[in-house]
């Protein structure tokens, strides 16, 4: 891993950014419109959001490229824009990056399913992710963050594709929900297998994001800590979304959400950010608690 980033992770808690999707919706992104389109149509709004997160204290922000893979863009007839969407995405974030900050290239799921549930093969998905990672690297991101993966095989394809595209650090997060038997992805992947196999493919940081809020994420981090020695990244939702008067709201306030920060760190999280519903205010409140020296992590 790049020494500056590794040094940071080993020396203190690292703060990731919060949600992009919910911030875009709050700024008028219409239902059903791909967020990546705004990299081209409203770069100033994307820039505003990145700036807000950096100003809130985030060490790392993610590019607005969650659905920026060819397969997902194709469902909206935008696959011809895959290059622009990713490179512009990187450019926008880098333009507002402060000294000491980092820009992560964000990679999310394709929305397609592997055989036998769907018709795709791991090799096909790996190519798609290789393309996206290459573009993000061309745009000069400093690391790749794969997230919200619900299928371990797809996640592995993303890690492999990214690993092929670059020597930059690759982070990989899955999204788990709690069932009667414990934390699993919707495809049935368990936590220990997921973390082990992601590491096996070359991920240098592993973790979880989305689906769950607090305190569930604390519990999940505790479990993840038992299953890996890699740095762990955790980005919880601000609870499960609810509809109030025709608007989507998230039940956890910034204060409530941030109140779990200590527990998350003690449970073993090295990098903490926010997911759906957790905006700049959430990050701002977590910053002083996260960006402290970690006596329990020994430097490499």
């Amino acid at each position: 891993m790049k020494s500056r980033l590794l040094e940071l992770i080993n020396s203190r808690g690292v703060l990731f950014d919060g949600a992009m999707g919910t911030e875009l919706i709050a700024r008028g992104l219409p239902a059903g419109q791909p967020p990546e389109e705004w990299n081209l149509k409203h770069p100033e709004i994307i820039e505003q959001i990145h700036r807000a997160y950096f100003e809130a204290g985030a060490d790392i922000v993610q590019t607005n490229t969650f659905g920026g893979n060819r397969l997902k863009l194709a469902t909206r007839g935008m696959d011809n824009l895959v290059g622009e969407v990713n490179i512009q995405g990187a450019k926008i974030a880098l333009a507002v990056k402060p000294a000491g900050g980092f820009v992560a290239g964000n990679i999310g799921p394709t929305g397609k399913f592997l055989q036998p549930v769907g018709r795709f093969t791991p090799a096909e998905l790996e190519e798609v992710f290789y393309e996206q990672a290459s573009l993000l690297v061309e745009g000069k991101v400093e690391l790749i963050n794969i997230e919200t993966m619900y299928d371990l095989e797809e996640a592995k394809a993303a890690v492999r594709g990214s690993r092929r595209a670059t020597d930059l650090p690759v982070f990989a997060s899955m999204t788990f929900s709690r069932t009667k038997k414990g934390f699993y992805t919707i495809m049935g992947n368990d936590v220990p297998t997921s973390l082990k196999e992601l590491e096996g493919c070359g991920a240098e940081v592993v973790g979880a994001n989305c689906t769950i809020g607090m305190p569930e994420m604390v519990e999940l981090v505790r479990l993840m800590r038992e299953d890996t020695d890699l740095p762990i990244i955790a980005q919880a939702n601000a609870g499960a979304p609810q509809m109030r008067d025709g608007k989507v709201t998230y039940p956890l306030s910034a204060e409530e959400y941030a109140s779990y920060t200590e527990e998350l760190l003690e449970a073993g999280a090295d990098i903490i950010g926010g997911c759906c519903g957790a905006g700049p205010e959430y990050i701002r409140l977590m910053a002083p608690l996260v960006k402290r020296e970690k006596p329990w992590r020994k430097p490499d």
Binding site: I25, L29, P30, A31, G32, Q33, T75, G111, F113, P116, V117, T179, K180, K181, G182, Y184, T185, I186, M187, G188, A240, P241, Q242, M243, G246, V248, C276
Partner: protein, 217 residues
């Protein structure tokens, strides 16, 4: 010589194992034995898919098992269907459902599962697919003289399409003509009540139970 019960058990097992070939084999065997195809559905396939649903609720089965079981069921149904029509005991005419995933939303596995299960229960299904403009859903429901409109959404953004559907029906003065059920992870009983829907299907099996109640079968 296999008895009826063996056939039904075999069908159920095929669904639990996700073995399409076996499901087809049992379906063919049942017809060869003269078993009433409607009994095969009621006592073999349906209990099979219900058991799959239970295992999913218990956290033992996951999405792949649900999808594959539904495909096994569809495959078995394909074998049985001609025999059902032949007998003139078509369960069709029991009710018609227009189903789709809301505009802007491409998620369709849950919706397709519900459509499959509803059709197996004898309802006539008009599956509009995913990313369906709300106005299209309304127009098709009117054209088809549907009894029930089922609308699925997996994103908080596209969920608003469910609210829009009810508003549109009200605006056109035709709300009373249809029952409306909403589904998808972000939806809830509370949401259904808030927007004036008739029911909320928490999962595919619940959706079928609610649909049957709404249609009155």
């Amino acid at each position: 010589m296999d008895r009826q019960e063996d056939v039904f058990a075999g069908m159920k097992e095929a669904l639990l194992k996700g073995d399409k070939e076996e499901a087809i084999r049992w379906a063919k065997l049942s017809l060869g034995m003269g078993v009433n195809p409607l009994d095969s559905i009621d006592q073999g396939l349906t209990p099979g898919i219900q058991q799959v649903g239970k295992l999913w609720e218990e956290g033992e089965y996951f999405l792949p098992q649900l999808v594959i079981a539904a495909e096994c069921m569809k495959a078995a149904m394909k074998v049985l269907e001609p025999a059902i029509s032949q007998k003139g005991e078509k369960k069709h005419g029991v009710g018609k459902v227009v189903i789709g995933t809301a505009e802007g939303d491409i998620h369709d596995i849950g919706k397709t599962l519900v459509a499959t299960l509803l059709s197996v229960n004898g309802l006539e299904i008009v599956d509009l697919g995913a990313d369906v403009p709300i106005i299209q859903m309304v127009n098709r429901a009117v054209e088809e003289e549907a009894d029930l409109i089922c609308i699925s959404a997996l994103l908080t953004t596209t969920m608003l399409g469910q609210k829009r559907l009810i508003e549109l029906l009200n605006e056109k003065g035709i709300r009373h003509r249809f029952k409306v059920m909403v589904g998808g992870a972000p939806a809830s009983q509370q949401w259904a009540e808030e927007i004036g829907a008739d029911a909320y299907g928490e999962n595919a099996l619940e959706a079928v139970a609610e649909a049957k109640k709404l249609i009155g079968i």
